[in-house]
């Protein structure tokens, strides 16, 4: 890839990011609900329009939308992300305190799902109609149909209340993120297993797999040896979009288990119409999605140069 093309790609990505940020900026302001009125109602301030106007000025909402956007953009790129309407705290400080929880839950859950899902997918391909095949199908359907909130509450009820195996709220850091991580993993294992299975199944119809069997290799060894790359490639292709939404996708787990993560904070910010928190969050998620999707594409090309 030439330097010019690289620069063009970066420029295209930057423009896309800018467009997403601008669109989000406008859409947030089109959401019903004035942040000042929501705040005053929330904190039970009985006041006239003068106090509302003071808050509007303090939060920069008295300027034109174009001026607000330019001010935000300049602040974002210079790492001055402003302060939350609701809490008055620095948005950057809030994000840095909460992001580790969300990342631990999101990446931990996804890593667990990849490990278990890959193996399950492999065994599902190995024995068509066997326990792994049926189990992975069941998990995939469950992941699509069961409400995450309800599953989280059931986990709490069984492990925390009935069996008392775990202090979901009061334990150490590991204990506090264990159930949320399991919840995130549960909802991804099935789909990852089915993706992986599809990759391995494709190999089972290939001549080189049949040749390996003819040479006397066991089915399981031949499938693992010759199907690993295909299974991995299929998984990467399917995993990239899921990873893209990992920042923010852990909200349910954080809310149910009371983890002070970033995703849970964003849900609060939506309820409060806290643009100061929502806008940098959207900007960060846009950057993350671009990184993941492009990273996934590059990885697949690296693994199999025939892919364009």
């Amino acid at each position: 890839m030439s330097a010019t093309q690289t620069l063009q790609d970066i420029g295209r990505l930057a423009l896309s990011w800018l467009a997403v940020c601008a669109a989000a900026f406008v859409l947030l302001r089109l959401m019903p609900g004035d942040p000042v009125e929501v705040f005053l109602a929330h904190v039970n301030i009985q006041s006239g329009p003068d106090i509302a106007a003071e808050y509007r000025a303090q939060w920069g909402l008295d300027r034109s939308i174009g001026a607000q956007f330019l001010r935000w953009l300049l602040g974002f790129v210079t790492l001055d992300w402003g302060v939350s309407f609701e809490t008055g705290r620095s948005v950057a400080a809030e994000f840095s305190a909460r992001l580790p929880y969300s990342m631990a839950i999101g990446f931990g859950g996804m890593a667990l799902a990849v490990c278990l899902g890959f193996m399950l997918g492999f065994y599902a391909a190995h024995r068509h109609g066997g326990w792994a095949d049926r189990g992975s199908r069941l998990l995939a359907v469950a992941g699509q149909t069961l409400p995450a909130f309800a599953v989280g509450l059931v986990l709490l009820w069984v492990l925390g209340v009935q069996l008392r195996w775990i202090n979901a709220f009061g334990g150490g850091a590991l204990e506090r993120i264990l159930l949320p991580t399991l919840l995130v993993a549960f909802f991804s294992i099935g789909s990852i297993a089915r993706l992986t299975r599809a990759g391995f199944m494709e190999v089972k119809t290939s001549p080189y797999y049949r040749t390996a069997l003819a040479k006397g290799r066991s089915e399981i060894a031949a499938l693992w040896h010759h199907g690993f790359a295909a299974g991995g490639l299929t998984l990467i292709a399917g995993l990239a979009p899921e990873l893209a939404w990992i920042v923010g996708g852990t909200a349910t787990a954080e809310i149910v288990f009371g983890v002070p993560g970033l995703s849970e904070r964003v849900v609060q910010a939506v309820n409060q119409r806290d643009y100061a928190v929502l806008q940098p969050y959207i900007a960060l998620v846009a950057i993350w999605i671009m990184l993941v999707l492009n990273g996934g594409r590059m990885l697949r090309k690296f693994w199999d140069p025939r892919l364009v």
Partner: protein, 495 residues
Amino acid sequence: MTLFRLKPLLAATAICAALVTPVATYAEDLVIGQTFLASGLDPAEGSNGWAVVSHGIAEQLFQVSRDGEVVPNLAASAVQNADSSWLVELAADRFFSDGTPVTAAAVAEALNRTGAANPSARATAGRMVFSAVDEDTLRVDTEQPTSILPSILAEWAFPVYRLEGEEIIFTGPFAVEAFEPGGSIEMVPNAHYAGAADRPNVTLRRIGDGQSLALAFASGEVDMAFHLPVETLPMLAGIEGEAKSFPVAYQYMMWMNTRAGALADVRVRRAIDLVVNRADLVTAVQAGVPATGAFARSYPFAATEDLPHDPEEAGALLDAAGWQLGEDGMRRRDGVALELVLYAFPQRPDLLTFQPVLRGALAEIGISVRTQVTENPNDVATRGAFDLLLWAQHTAPAGDPGQFLSLFFETGAARNYTGWSNADYDALIAELRAESDPQARIALARDAQEMIAAQAPVSFLVTPEWHVGLSPALAGYEPWGSDYYVIRPDLRVAE
């Protein structure tokens, strides 16, 4: 072979068991779970002032008592000067948690800082300037004259604190040991607060979802769960501890748009108010008591008489207003049916529950109601784009009736959503505004509520109840004061 396979499994189980801490048992240290937590400790920012007082970390010069009266706390008294300024005498022997005495100079510095930074501190009397007259006396000059300074100083925006570099030091019964925004606060008894030896260490933990909070209480992880959704109470019936319900001052009400249409006629509004069966509403939401007026019954200025329920009288009023009952059970006047739109908002689920009950009640007297849900009730209210609008409002957060009765009902007031205008009422509120005698204010507030009831720009519906789970360690602790005073000096471990 089987044993060989079991070994890794047993090892993994042992590792998992070692990684998790032992399950909580009730101890002298308490864990309190709440659906909200201070997002910071600086009262000059956001709504932190409210949270730090609610958590038992900070105190104000005055506070609202369990009986709904404004009583001195860090202050001993307040008197108004002839020039409308005030002198506040501080209570003796009060200390910050680092042992520094509470002085007028320290209080003035803190409250001036808050007043400059936080618009909420300027909501009632404009900008207030605090200055120390001597060690124990504070002078307060208000931008707008007020006869109720103690009540204003009981608003959540005015906790007393002291800045020590970056650290903020308060006077409450508990001092902050560690703080994780959005997660938890570790608190220890303030050693310089009377009775410190009897108080436990407290961990205050935020569990944002009510269902999860109930499960945390059921599992014994929290000693107090504040506050629980009503539907979780049956689940908690069999566990150790108890769930206590207490009335809160967030009154449920229904605005009636008086600007035009059928509701411009007071007889129609009165008819609607009369047909509302408040007991049915309480049954529908499984908690609360029928409202008697604008304020919860615990306030001294609350109306004392039950609001009437009289469908026959309601029908007669509609007849008199020219709305005749047709054979199809609908009221019509000049061929036009009496149809109204009733809004509610999902942020208060109880209000959604009220909608079908009210629709049924109004149908009894021939009024057709279409129910709608809005995510943005403030916008609907401000634009006056409703016939009937269900609402929830803390009507006396600082223990005084004046603000609500003025701001929501005076002619042209900022939050007079119904467009109601009554010269007699305006004159009464002007009198209330000028009156400083507490007993006279109570009488005026009750008169104002009677006028409102007679004209019915609003129908006061229910004083709701909240539910708090208390473990045996907190047996006997009485929740009160809505969410303004959750943790108080009398929080002790039960014997």
